[in-house]
Symmetry: C2
Subunit: 316 residues, 2 copies
Amino acid sequence: MQERSGQAAGVLVVAGTHGNERNAPWLLEHWQQRPETLASAGLPLHLVLGNPAAYACNRRYLERDLNRCFREALLQDPAEQGLDVRRARELIASHGPKGSEPCGAVIDLHSTTSAMGNCLVVYGRRPADLALAAGIQGRLGLPIYLHEGDASQTGFLLEQWPCGVVIEVGPVPQGVLQARICRQTQLGLEAALAVLAAARAGTLRLPPVLVVHSHLGSLDVPRRADGSPRACIHPALQSRDWVPLHDGDPLFLDADGTVLRFEAEQSGEPPVAVFINEAAYGEKGIALSLTRRQLWSVEESWGQALAQVAAGLGLS
Amino acid sequence: MQERSGQAAGVLVVAGTHGNERNAPWLLEHWQQRPETLASAGLPLHLVLGNPAAYACNRRYLERDLNRCFREALLQDPAEQGLDVRRARELIASHGPKGSEPCGAVIDLHSTTSAMGNCLVVYGRRPADLALAAGIQGRLGLPIYLHEGDASQTGFLLEQWPCGVVIEVGPVPQGVLQARICRQTQLGLEAALAVLAAARAGTLRLPPVLVVHSHLGSLDVPRRADGSPRACIHPALQSRDWVPLHDGDPLFLDADGTVLRFEAEQSGEPPVAVFINEAAYGEKGIALSLTRRQLWSVEESWGQALAQVAAGLGLS
């Protein structure tokens, strides 16, 4: 790990924001011992285990999902003294933009039980985030899930930093280390750091077009009165992340063999399913999310916003 | 669920012995509500959730793996008052061979993150178990893992009943419901019950030969001094359960990219790998187990032993 010089900000790399996602933390340990194995293009990195207490228990979180703890109302509430919320405050105090070791950008490494492949998650439409995502998509072609307009899911870690993306890799069971998942995570992170370094050097060239999958809403499995699932994801839908859902496509299968089908709400392009059957989302009432695949022209202002963030990143 | 009549024993069907294996418990709830959806061939079934407290937390166990709690020293030790051990005693008291609702055979339904497909696990070489496994293999062709001679892993639930098998299905992440896994579980259980019913009716015909994979030993990933894994399963080995391992085959991959290869200890038939990268076995120091694939002649005495067990199973 390289140290920041003077007041220049670093790049925060977080692994294990969820303690049962084991692949990125395993890489993190390796990078800490052998910094040269992570191409950082001269960027000062701060490599941090997101939720060490949850990681020690191999659980997603202890009391409250750490990656939903980063909203102001929660962070500022003195009555909130849960371990995960306190960890959120600690991360901001140490590595937030005004922290003791300030970071100007963050890459948050996650894994999923859904067959999402290697992809990016962006929260909202901050220009610097879109530029960073576009730069990574230009290098690796990773699909992008734009999470926005979802009042039931807020307080993501990224929101407390001026710029950042989630790198999300799957499918992999919780608690399992897999070489392929590690390799994809490393490639995604190296591409992200290369984009930031190019932005800082003034050499970043973004693709003309960004393909985004913007959040439309989520579907839950049908449930019984006691909350238990009455059906499961239909086998024809399982692992079909990033595939359009057409009116009448099988969605759920109940224990009697009855097929529940997708009913498209509107005409036009069919929505694209993501995060199908993610283990941790059952408790959030999400069996899958629906997105709209869109082509956006990459705007010059995005690159300028990212250049401004990158200019604050210290030289090693 | 059908009730036993008089003193005749039932068949115990256990789901969720591990609380984060969600597929069999989901089926169980369905069978309890709609008993006709489980073909039991007239056998009196006792459908039981193995570890309800662990299931409620979506954890494998609370304090101690319930499926390692069924050894006498532990069960008889008055100082052992952990919740899982107490649940083991409770299961024996209620549904053991001498329990308040006695059961003469048990089918224990499990899932795994390993790519084991639909298979059977048998502990030791009890003739009735071998007959039951042979009968199921004759119907569905399921591979059989014979776990024996492993002093580090003992106290399995099955051992407290006169006859039984584990039906093990994967790959599926912990905490995830998948239609395919449910379907395989149901097929396996129905075949097991059909074999027991045929044995009771005196119509059981066993195949002449049993293919078993008998336990040779287990391999752990290389670890650092602090116990953390220094390497992961090589991607060429991941999901290659039931495939023979030859001398020089890639086994592990460390974070530097170094490949650690399998070194066969003896000449002769190569061992066959099972339970590769099962999430719950990391803490047990098992990255995979090695077995010897063997063809056994099915002995007449096995069928007789099973017939004796089955004769005690009550009419519905």
